[in-house]
Amino acid sequence: MTRYAMVIDTKTCIGCGDCVVACKTENKVPNGLNRDWVVEATRGTYPDLTTEFRSERCNHCSNATCVTLCPTGASHHWNDTNIVLVDADKCTGCKACIAACPYDARLVMHPDGYIDKCTFCHHRVEKGLDPACVSSCPTRCMHFGSLDDPHSEVSRLLKTRNYKVLVPETGNDPNVYYLI
């Protein structure tokens, strides 16, 4: 399985939300729905506070429970990669995958009713491009690439920087990394 990862530097992210706008524009996500979002996490007690911005989305988990629990095979790993896609023609809208996702990263597409989510812009990845959110980031805090290539930018960042993933204890093996 080719393993694509997104590496996001929380030290340089300013929470501007450009990634969210880029996604909506690129993927024509309807009003009121979002495939990605920005979280501002504040820790500590005033005046000793630290703030972390995180651009979040589907973690394209290697062991994705949304894929294993889908009753029709609509949720699947794309072309033997970790990129999780939904085949709208196979989706009944039963919403099992929404319940299965610990990151609440899925949504019901309106008005059609099939389940939708971040695709890591696989249509761009196919052409060797970065996902829209990564390309549009004004602080260049987002990085995308293959973890199978030890010389890729994402591999090098994960070798040299401290990082975390979100709730790894769910066992889903997520592939969006946050540099801390």
């Binding site: 929470g15 939300g17 969210v20 309807p30 009003n31 009121g32 729905l33 979002n34 979002w37 920005v38 979280v39 501002e40 996490a41 504040t42 820790r43 500590g44 007690t45 911005f53 429970t65 294993t68 629990l69 889908c70 009753p71 029709t72 095979g73 609509a74 709208a88 023609d89 196979k90 989706c91 009944t92 809208g93 039963c94 919403k95 099992a96 929404i98 319940a99 299965a100 996702c101 610990p102 990151y103 609440d104 899925r106 949504l107 019901v108 309106h110 059609d112 009713g113 099939y114 389940i115 979100l166 709730v167 204890e169 769910t170 066992g171």
Partner: protein, 334 residues
């Protein structure tokens, strides 16, 4: 202190501000699926254990209710689907890791077995209805065959009915992302609850006093088992990880505390248990018909509370700044 705010509005319908993808339609299916399983199990057991004399309703008439109740449940389940025209997709693949896929196929197998079960006793249970079938030679031959193999059919029905009763609980417990459901006891709890509601239904519908008493005894035993399984579920959550302990709070002071303890445990388990004990010991029989009604109410309440509390339990939670009214100000997009 940790405060996690959504900076950009993530306003995904049914997910924000908290997950609420499944409502009464799914709870009703879970209830009716369990009830169907119980109906088929008791109708089969009455035949296998030669209880036609003691339990004539269960042995000869009860089975007819199974496809009716199951179809009603499947109708509400269909209402819940968001992409309804693609419902046939459940039957274009089998996903071995998905309990929902197992369930879809179990339903397909259950229907023909249910029909065979009904036909095997239809001449005794519903003679006027049977006379219509007997007018056709094929119908007569099929009913003859079913009657000859009555016990074998009953034996074959049991594993599929058990599968139907247990899979709904396994389905919910497989969602590791929802800690409240993530207990191995849930499948068994749903099966026992489904059998209890079916026993209650027999008490309501059977005419013979002896049969009512027999199924009151059966129901009381099942209520004891159900209380034990509920206790085990709570213990399993209370001794789990932080997420499980947090999830337990929804019935221990949180939003579903009243519904769980009053509607399910109180009205659905303890009061019918007391009424059935009073009735069986001959102390008070005036409320005899109330107990089975409460058991049925409790059976639905269990599914509803478990379904809602499970959706509330999560690994991630943000303070959302989303305000739904702002959406009204957006121009229509196309």
């Amino acid at each position: 202190m940790t405060e996690e705010l959504l900076v950009t509005a993530r306003s995904n319908a049914l997910i924000d501000p908290s997950l609420h993808i499944w409502t009464w339609e799914v709870a009703m299916y879970l209830f009716m699926g369990g009830l169907t399983a119980g109906i088929m199990i008791f109708a089969a057991l009455a035949i296998v254990r030669n209880k036609e004399q003691v339990a004539p309703y269960a042995a000869t008439r009860l089975a007819l209710l199974a496809p009716v109740v199951l179809s009603l449940g499947m109708t509400t389940l269909f209402l819940d689907l968001e992409h309804k025209l693609y419902v046939y997709r459940f039957y274009t693949s089998f996903q071995i890791t998905s309990p929902m896929s197992w369930g879809a196929w179990i339903l397909v197998v259950v229907y023909p077995f249910s029909v065979l079960q009904i036909l095997s006793t239809i001449r005794i249970g519903y003679p006027s209805f049977a006379s219509y079938i007997d007018r056709l030679m094929v119908g007569r031959q099929i009913v003859d065959w079913c009657e000859q193999h009555r016990t074998k059919i009953a034996l074959a029905v049991i594993p599929f009915a058990v599968a139907l009763g247990i899979y709904t609980g396994i389905l919910l417990s497989a969602f590791g992302a929802r800690p409240f459901w993530n207990s191995g006891v849930l499948g068994l709890l749903f099966l026992v609850s489904g059998m209890s509601t079916a026993a209650a239904l027999v008490v309501l519908l059977a005419k013979q006093k002896g049969e009512k008493v027999l199924f009151t005894q059966i129901d009381l035993t099942l209520i004891f088992a159900e209380i034990a399984l509920v206790a085990l579920s709570l213990i399993s959550l209370a001794s789990g990880s932080g997420q499980h302990i947090d999830a337990l709070q929804s019935v221990m002071g949180g939003s579903y505390t009243l519904a769980f303890w009053v509607l399910f445990v109180g009205i659905g388990l303890l009061i019918p248990m007391l009424l059935e004990i009073l009735e069986l010991s001959g102390i008070n029989k005036s409320l005899a018909m109330l107990a089975p009604v409460l058991v049925l109410v409790g059976g639905y309440a269990l599914r509803h509370v478990v379904m809602e509390a499970g959706q509330e339990s999560t690994w991630t939670s943000y303070e959302t700044q989303y305000n739904a009214e702002l959406l009204q100000r957006l121009p229509d997009s196309d």
